[in-house]
């Protein structure tokens, strides 16, 4: 019984207590960031994403790394020595790792499974779209990156969206394509090309997965996630215009994709009335004044996050596994206390 305490209670404690506490901390940081003046609603998108995901990723990485260091080094395991005697083999840390990995994977799995690309249409249908795209690519050199990455789909009610985690592709619904002009399609592809360039499907799935493994933290962070999503879509609109897409046709394509007949959630972003109004107004403003990038801290944020992740992996091996040992001893003492 005692031996099972740490793997089960420890893993549950990490997911149900440590992660929500980190989420509370992240909420404070996000609240501060969202008050930022420069860039308005699109302020510090990469940093906000890093904070949103780190609240779940960093604690899990820390405990996994701490456990692995202890298992590999046969290290401290102080709680084992105290509670089970030196003669017994201490395997709880290994089981704790398995429990933590298992629970995390179990909770995150639905988020990965949700990301399913629509079926590709027949070659004939694809060829018809390809002919149309060829003329669009010729007249819009900024979309050249998408050459060979656009597929037609006959999936019912699918407008346009980007799928694929490591090699994203843009899927265009045939019915949607038939309803819009070439200029609208080119602008919509401009929006999607920013999703492709930034590997947004991967970002979205990782965000959903980190929320899924942290059910209590998700409640705390839900408003910030919603705001980030909306702002991310608006950011793609702005990038599309900066790279040469026409703002008004893009606004019209967004509205077409949001029409009630289209049920695909990723179609050019959200269907929420407030967000749509914001984006359309923004694009209308861009028709008068060319937008510029503001407050882009992307590369610096990426390097910062990488550094923190490396520290979370390396530090437990350097500073010892006190946190893990405390959790280990605490779990077993809690069982002793309640079971005796």
């Amino acid at each position: 019984m005692t031996e099972a305490a740490f793997p089960i209670l420890g893993a549950a404690f990490v997911l149900m207590c440590v992660l929500p506490l980190c989420s509370l901390l992240a909420k404070g940081v996000l609240w501060q960031l969202e008050q930022g003046e420069r860039g308005g609603a699109l302020h510090e998108l990469d940093l906000r994403y890093a904070v949103l995901t780190s609240a779940s990723v960093l604690p899990v990485v820390w405990f996994l790394s701490s456990g692995l260091h202890q298992v590999w080094s046969g290290g401290s395991a102080l709680a084992c020595l105290l509670d089970h005697g030196a003669s017994e083999e201490c395997v709880e840390t290994a089981f704790f790792l398995l429990a933590l990995i298992g629970l995390t994977a179990l909770l995150a799995w639905p988020a990965w499974r949700e990301h399913v690309a629509p079926p590709t249409a027949s070659p004939d249908v694809n060829r018809a779209l390809s002919d149309r795209l060829e003329s669009i690519f010729t007249s819009h050199p900024a979309l050249e990156d998408l050459r060979g990455r656009v597929r037609a789909t006959c999936a019912p009610d699918f407008a346009i969206g980007t799928h694929g985690l490591f090699r994203p592709r843009v899927f265009v619904g045939t019915a949607f394509a038939a309803r819009i002009s070439d200029e609208m399609l080119a602008s919509a592809l401009g929006h999607e090309s920013e999703h492709v360039r930034s590997l947004d499907p991967l970002r979205y799935v990782v965000l959903r997965a980190t929320q899924a493994v942290n059910p209590l933290g998700r409640l705390l962070l839900a408003p910030h996630v919603a705001r980030w999503h909306a702002a991310r879509e608006a950011h793609c609109d702005r990038e599309a215009v900066i790279r040469g897409s026409s703002p008004l046709p893009l606004a019209e394509a967004i509205l077409q994709a949001a029409r009630p007949s289209v049920r695909e959630q990723v179609a050019l972003g959200a269907r929420d009335a407030v967000v749509l109004t914001f984006r359309v107004r923004m694009l209308m403003a861009f028709s008068e004044r060319q937008p510029s990038r503001c407050c882009d801290t992307g590369p610096a944020v990426g390097q910062g996050v990488l550094l923190i992740l490396v520290l979370a992996i390396v530090l437990p091996g350097q500073i010892g596994s006190t946190v893990l040992d405390t959790l280990h001893a605490g779990s077993e003492h809690a069982v002793h206390y309640f079971v005796r």
């Binding site: 420069r38 699109l42 606004a251 509205l255 949001a258 359309v280 107004r281």
Partner: protein, 138 residues
């Protein structure tokens, strides 16, 4: 920084009153990164007659609005601009946009109330785009 947009004004005057805008133009054009009220006064006096207390009050108001930072230097304050002119205009543009559509307030509403756009709302937005097209065309 807290601002109220001034209808009918353009550029930095969207967010700053006349004398505030004049002072900030002096600060940005002379590239004053750390200055006392007397330095701005000297520049303004080349153009018009103006009292020291008027400039001091206006500079203090710019500090209250968050446009200027200040540190104490003996018996006086040294002021410095928080943003460059370009950054200030960029920020203004987003504030105007936010004002127009509810901006951050609208985004905040997502928390409590997510509502799918109705066909009527989509029609109204399309109508706005058509109007904008006509305005740009004319």
């Amino acid at each position: 920084m807290s601002f109220r947009i001034r209808p009918g004004k353009r550029g930095i005057e969207l967010r700053l009153h006349d004398l505030e805008a004049v002072i900030m133009e002096v600060v940005w054009s002379k590239r004053l990164t750390s200055f006392a009220v007397s330095e701005v006064l000297a520049e303004l006096e080349k153009r018009r007659e103006i009292a020291y207390t008027t400039v001091m009050t206006t500079v203090a108001r710019l500090h209250d609005k968050g446009v200027l930072d200040r540190v104490r230097d003996g018996r006086r304050y040294l002021y410095s601009p928080k943003l460059t002119r370009e950054q200030f205009l960029e920020s203004t543009a987003w504030t105007v946009l936010d004002e127009a559509v509810g901006g951050q307030t609208a985004m905040a509403m997502l928390v409590d109330k997510v509502s799918e756009a109705s066909a009527g709302e989509l029609d109204a937005l399309e109508q706005l785009i058509r109007q904008r097209r006509e305005e740009l065309g004319s």
